[in-house]
Amino acid sequence: MTDLTFSPSPGAAPRSRMVRAQTAYELRTLLRNGEQLLLILIIPVALLILFSSAPLLDVGAGRRVDFLTPGVLALAVMSTAFTGQAIGTGFERRYGVLKRLGATPLPRSGLIIAKTLTVLAVEVLQALVICVVAAALGWSPHGNPATVILLLLLGTAAFSGFGLLMAGTLRAEATLAAANLVYILLLALGGVVFPLTKFSGGVRSVLELLPISALADGLRQVLQHGAGFPARDLVILAVWAVLGLALAARFFSWE
């Protein structure tokens, strides 16, 4: 029997250590979760390979991989920041994990930072894999990488806000169903694998306001067409980000 002394010795670890530990834990559990891997990595890469190699969809002028890669990057951001985060956090809330962590010295802001860092780390991994696969398929990107990163970050903020809003307000089962439904709808209607020009004018102008459309279109303008600053898409994403994060901050319930 190991010697244990239970004499009180209270004290919190440094905040940075707490956030690091929570982030490492979240990353580890996420990356060994098969369903999450399917969602965040396998589906985007499969779509990229499938639609790049076979002329199944009319993606307009230009090479298919140049059209598809920005859309798949947008899909990857949505799958991690929105779908994965909503479902994961929703079940943590349901099982009292958020409540239990609330009784530890890890502050709520530290938990949110850890979740955000986890999302960003996963996105880096996704982008690497997608770019390598796209390069192997002959992808030739253009544009300013800083603009691409700005688009990805704004998209992440927008999707995180709504993912956390859903996780913090609905029952876990409802979040699971709704997050998957939204994922499929936005995949189909958001200009991810086929262009919004397929829709008629009125429908199209509404669909262009979706965060997934703005992200896919912004990335496409930069990476496919070498545009400098896709202002309209950046503004749309910023509005969604502010709205989502404000609603989540207002309505998120921890229990």
């Binding site: 029997m1 943590e92 009784a103």
Partner: protein, 303 residues
Amino acid sequence: MEPLAVAVNDLVKRYGMTAAADGLSFEARSGEVTALLGPNGAGKTTTVEICEGYRRADSGSVRVLGRDPRDPALKTRIGVMLQSGGVPTNARAGEFLRLIASFYATPLDPAALLDRLGLTASARTSYRRLSGGQQQRLALAAAVVGRPELVFLDEPTAGLDPQARHATWELVEDLKAAGVAVILTTHHMDEAERLADEVVIVDHGRVIASGPPSSLTGAERQLRFRARPGLGLDELLSALPPATIAKESPAGHYVIEGDLVPELLATVTAWCASNGVMTEDLRIERRTLEDVFLELTGRELRS
């Protein structure tokens, strides 16, 4: 003087029309185990969760280690075991305990704590694949790994097999010996009698009795039996020595207190025989907390 670990005074908490806590008061001290004992729905969990800072009281005062229970500074000083859950289902036992430990400045060694609670072999097992008893012990480990001054354990042994229960009891005794204040809720009388320095019996959101187990149960032995309700106790008493007391509380449950010599037992059974009364559960023993609860409420604790 060191402040009380917990001081609850006239606590009221309502959910709609029902009062989960209805003027509830108690105190808990460092180096002592305080047991909130009562049936399901008595208000134990509500009271504990207010002390843990999860909910606000409607009225009354609650001080935890001399502070407002919602003071963030308390989070390093208290350990919490929820009644259920609190652990991600896909987390491995050892991984989760190391995570919680990493939030504290000078935690216990997670591996040693797992070992102590018999969880070493399950350290790499995910929470959802642990047995109920293992899940409970992991939650207990997480409550104490940060070396708190005060620990709240909400039904720590619910659903445990006897062996796991004893492991939990021994840990609670070690915490107490180390000067930690332990507050636990239970509806197991034997648990409260075995562990608690102070028992607070709660029913319908109120404290109906409190004190050390021995003062609640009394040192005197009693003769207890069950029989059909409404026996003529006055007639029985006339056959017994003058200082003897006999009462029926609740209906059908009889208690005889006095000088319990063999003749008294013979007199009682003879009286029963001549009146055609068949007794059940005839026993001579000290009162248990179970008896105390039954007498105070007229109900069985685990009904």
